[in-house]
């Protein structure tokens, strides 16, 4: 299995180590969004529109989106 995976945050490709989580994708994409998510100002949805937790795992090719909650 490849050690790395590609995930997409708001359409932007991000390369991560396999088994990294939603929070790592946010840190790699935009650290300020991760801080905002921790503070509750942003929630994360998958491509089905389901809310996913920051500690949720990511599969290769996963697409996630940040949604402002404020």
């Amino acid at each position: 299995m490849n050690e790395n995976i590609d995930v997409y945050v708001n359409g932007q490709k991000i390369n991560l180590y396999r088994a990294m989580k939603v929070k790592h994708a946010l840190i790699a994409y935009d650290q300020s969004l991760y801080k905002a998510a921790l503070a509750g100002g942003v929630r994360i949805e998958d491509e089905n529109g389901f809310t996913i937790g920051l500690e949720g795992s990511l599969a290769d090719g996963a697409k996630i989106f940040t949604i402002a909650t404020g």
């Binding site: 088994a19 790592h24 089905n48 996913i52 937790g53 795992s57 996963a62």
Partner: protein
């Protein structure tokens, strides 16, 4: 009036004939009504209650994505909800966990999951799948958890040498409700290789689920299972792929991706559900099953998840509340325990080397057997004063739930890191390496010399480096950490530092000589 001699016989014959005619005409209606009644008798309702990825969250907390205004979760509120759902379908309910129940909060971590097991035993779970984080504390602790569980722990795709399962773990269980056999097959993510320290997985093989499931499904069907539930800890994307690749799975109850599937997903005829994470939701999948046709006729299509909340008016289970309170009180005791001593004040610094940075990185190296350790200075949030060091002090100093990540980097990559570090507001703290900077040199050329274990660092050589998962994902723009190889994860950084303090007290302040500035 006298009737003709044959008139009585004629009247009787006519009546009988009319009776049979009416009966004949009514027969289809009678048959139809009987058939419908029989069909209704064959239809039963079953309820699958499910949780996943609780990660030790037994106390209500703030999660604004679930409820912006109020705390959510809480094991005593979840317990009451489970009781109510069971009461609505007393003979037809099963309660499942899709794994990752224990590791994640101080109240659970400090006691290796004991409060969660006590609560799960009290609630009479019917089965739990092994999640990847069940391996975080090593196989001995996992064995202790399995032995303490009064419910089956299932995982069909994890094997020890010789093809056996982990002791106490089964591939599946068959539950019986209202005369219907329900097979529950466990699946653990093969990504566990990447989330757990290699030492935690010694002797274990994680097989891809689609390789084991078909034969198990045939076996359970042969044993009379009418409904097949895959209880998986592999993530929604993997669950969808599994449904596409493996036929015969009626329902997937999933976890790992922490997805709050409000309306069940259907993939290749398989119903897929998942209840978010952290005990915030209880999944309630109601199904209507035809015992005669052995077929699921209907299932919950919308709003399958119920929010768990201590909102005003919410009822709680006092027995579970007692378990939570008992362990919360013990946390306070554990936090106040002295785990070591600081021989002098251990202070931080954002620029240059700090005593506390030295200790944190030395601890990281010791926990990982790496040659070099890097820690972002900004991740160390409080000094440790001279004197006794409590566990609470470690939590205050390192409040983030970071894990160690170990990787191979080349000397050239490390040089790039060091050049970036000296320009950063959050200089990297180091261990196993000595750097001399000349600040008068231009950007990108400020590193004058680097030594690893007393020898000059070689640009093309490979070095084993440990950092935390925040930096490993490119935190603070240290993107070089994303280019490593031979990645291994774990243990928790905080656990590594606490262990180091226990083993090396009194903690002496070493002379600062790892990061030297000239000019």
């Amino acid at each position: 009036m006298r009737f003709p001699p044959n008139s009585k016989r004629s009247l009787t014959s006519s009546t009988t004939g009319l009776f049979f005619l009416i009966l004949l005409l009514s027969l289809p209606v009678i048959l139809l009504l009987s058939s419908a009644a029989l069909a209704r008798q064959a239809e039963i309702s079953l309820t699958i209650l499910h949780v996943n990825d609780t990660h030790g969250h037994i106390i209500p907390y703030q999660d604004k994505s679930a409820d912006p205004g109020r705390p959510v979760g809480g094991a005593e509120y979840l317990a009451k909800m489970i009781e109510r759902e069971r009461a609505a379908n007393p003979d037809g309910t099963i309660l499942l966990s899709a794994g990752d129940m224990f590791q994640g909060t101080p109240v659970s971590n400090l006691f290796h999951g004991k409060p969660v097991i006590e609560i799960m035993n009290y609630l009479h779970y019917d089965a739990m799948a092994l999640g990847n984080h069940e391996f975080d504390w090593g196989q001995d602790v996992l064995q202790s958890i399995i032995s303490s569980a009064s419910f089956p722990v299932v995982s069909a795709n994890v094997f020890k040498r010789g093809g056996r399962h982990i002791p106490g773990v089964k591939s599946y269980v068959i539950l019986k409700r209202k005369g219907v056999r329900i097979a529950v097959i466990g699946i653990t993510t093969p990504d566990t290789y990447y989330t757990s320290k290699p030492g935690n997985l010694t002797g274990l093989t994680f097989v891809h689920p689609e390789k084991v499931l078909p034969s198990i499904i045939r076996r359970v069907r042969a044993q009379g299972a009418s409904i097949v539930v895959a209880l998986t800890h592999d993530g929604l994307d993997a669950d969808r792929e599994l449904a596409r690749k493996v036929s015969g799975i009626d329902i997937i109850v999933g976890g790992h991706s922490h997805t709050a599937i409000m309306d069940p997903v259907i993939e290749s005829g398989t119903v897929i559900v998942q209840a978010g994470s952290n005990g915030i939701y209880l999944g309630v999948l109601n199904i209507t099953f035809d015992r005669a046709k052995k077929k699921i006729l209907s299932y919950t299509r919308k709003n399958e998840l119920r929010l768990v909340s201590p909102a005003s008016g919410a009822q709680l289970d006092p027995n579970v509340a007692h378990i939570v309170d008992k362990y919360e009180a013990q946390v306070k005791t554990e936090f106040s325990k002295v785990i070591g001593t600081a021989a002098a004040d251990l202070a931080r610094a954002s620029i240059g080397e700090s005593c506390l940075g030295d200790i944190v990185t030395d601890a990281m190296r010791e926990a990982s057997d790496a040659q070099i350790a890097f820690q972002n200075g900004g991740g160390i949030r409080a000094d440790i004063p001279k004197g006794p060091i409590t566990l609470e002090a470690v939590f205050t100093t390192l409040p983030f739930d970071d894990d160690l990540v170990t990787m191979d980097l080349t000397g050239e990559q490390i040089m790039e890191l060091l050049e970036k570090s000296v320009l950063s507001d959050n200089m990297l703290q180091v261990s196993g390496i000595q750097i001399v900077y000349d600040l008068s040199k231009p950007e990108g050329a400020k590193v004058v010399s680097v030594e690893v274990a007393g020898k000059p660092m070689e640009p093309q050589a490979t070095y084993r480096v440990v950092t935390n998962d925040f930096l490993a994902s490119g935190g603070n723009q240290f993107n070089i950490f994303k280019k490593g190889h031979n990645i291994s994860a774990g243990p928790s950084q905080r656990d590594a530092i606490a262990d180091y303090i226990r083993k090396n007290s009194p903690i002496n302040v070493q002379a600062r000589n790892r990061i030297i500035f000239r000019n």
